[in-house]
Symmetry: C2
Subunit: 184 residues, 2 copies
DNA sequence: GAAACTTTACCGGCTAGACGGTTTTCTACC
DNA sequence: GGTAGAAAACCGTCTAGCCGGTAAAGTTTC
């Protein structure tokens, strides 16, 4: 790692290109130019376009995980915290997140292999929810609803106004809390 | 309408190509060949590739609507029927539905315009749920959870075993029923 | 001086769409 | 009802542009 940030510079550039034109139009030439690197230099760091996309998705997942880790740290050992932080993470689409994620979602839908980091993320999350203090099915519903909302906003299927959105958010958090009492 | 089914034949062909190679690799040549039509003939019916994709998505949405309409007809005027039929429709991914929908989802994520028929579908559904007998927020959660499950299975993020899936399905239906009593 | 890194120049393949021509179907008129 | 002419449907080819990836020749760093 003599030039520590070469890969990161390229990933930043790729993200900004994706944000502007979508993953389909993300060409190696465009990314290289944006990164201030030649095409050969780009391919030295990421031997194939697929490997570049994979790294982009992995980085995005990493951001979500960092988000959640931070939220959990703030909130001690309460088992519903995991769920609450998941809801929060799914619902906060800040700073061009949508523009970045939608094309990556598209790329992932076309090439399942790209989504491996996401799969791993879910695997861990579900393992965490296998907690005797939590009603698993209830927790799943909350998780799935968060994902559904994430999807619909990502695809701009319907634009919720702030009030509706806040109500839904609150409702999902309330349901998160309920999962912990309900053990049969 | 001398040749009534020319467009449908092409759409069938396009679907089968998509199912095999994904929307990205769905080339006009491939579709034309599969449909037993020349490229010129294809472009006569669908002037651009985009218009073809749009028609494919519209047809898929139409199928879902037909599904729901049928379910609702069977079940009289109970207001939760709408929600129950939505859950059922979202959860039944039969006969290559996944292989067809995932690439279309990808195409839609890249080109928001393609999703217009989907937007319209949701608009109608949400209008239907604005029923004084139904707790709207509860209904939304059920709807979103169905969509979330649909997404995760579509992307093969995690494969539920039949038992888990059936439990979740039952739970979502139960929640559908609850939306009708809970009015504050 | 060798290994890591970067550049420039280039290639081969693919694809959307245009275009000019051909066949089939419809319409109208005698 | 037959024929002519218009319109619709369809065909096959061509092409310009793009894009991922290679190859070989520098350049920097240790």
């Amino acid at each position: 790692m003599s030039r520590p940030s070469s890969k990161d510079t390229i990933l930043d550039a790729a993200e900004s290109v994706v944000r502007e034109s979508g993953a389909v139009h993300m060409t190696l030439d465009a990314v290289a130019e944006r990164a201030g690197v030649s095409k050969g230099g780009l391919l030295y760091n990421f031997p194939t376009k697929e490997s570049l996309l994979e790294a982009m998705i992995a980085r995005q997942v990493g951001r979500c995980e960092a988000n959640r880790a931070e939220a959990e740290e703030k909130a001690g050992g309460d088992p519903t915290v995991k769920l609450r932080s998941y809801v929060d993470t799914a619902l906060q689409l800040e700073g061009g997140m949508r523009e970045t994620c939608a094309p990556l979602l598209a790329a992932g839908a076309n090439n399942p292999k790209l989504l491996d980091p996401v799969r791993e993320h879910y695997r861990k999350l579900i393992a965490e929810l296998q907690d005797p203090a939590i009603n698993f099915d209830d927790a799943m519903v909350v998780m799935l609803a968060s994902d559904g909302l994430w999807l619909l906003e990502m695809l701009q299927i319907f634009p919720l106004d702030d009030a509706q959105r806040a109500r839904l958010h609150a409702k999902l958090l309330a349901l998160s809390d309920q999962t912990v009492q309900k053990r049969k």
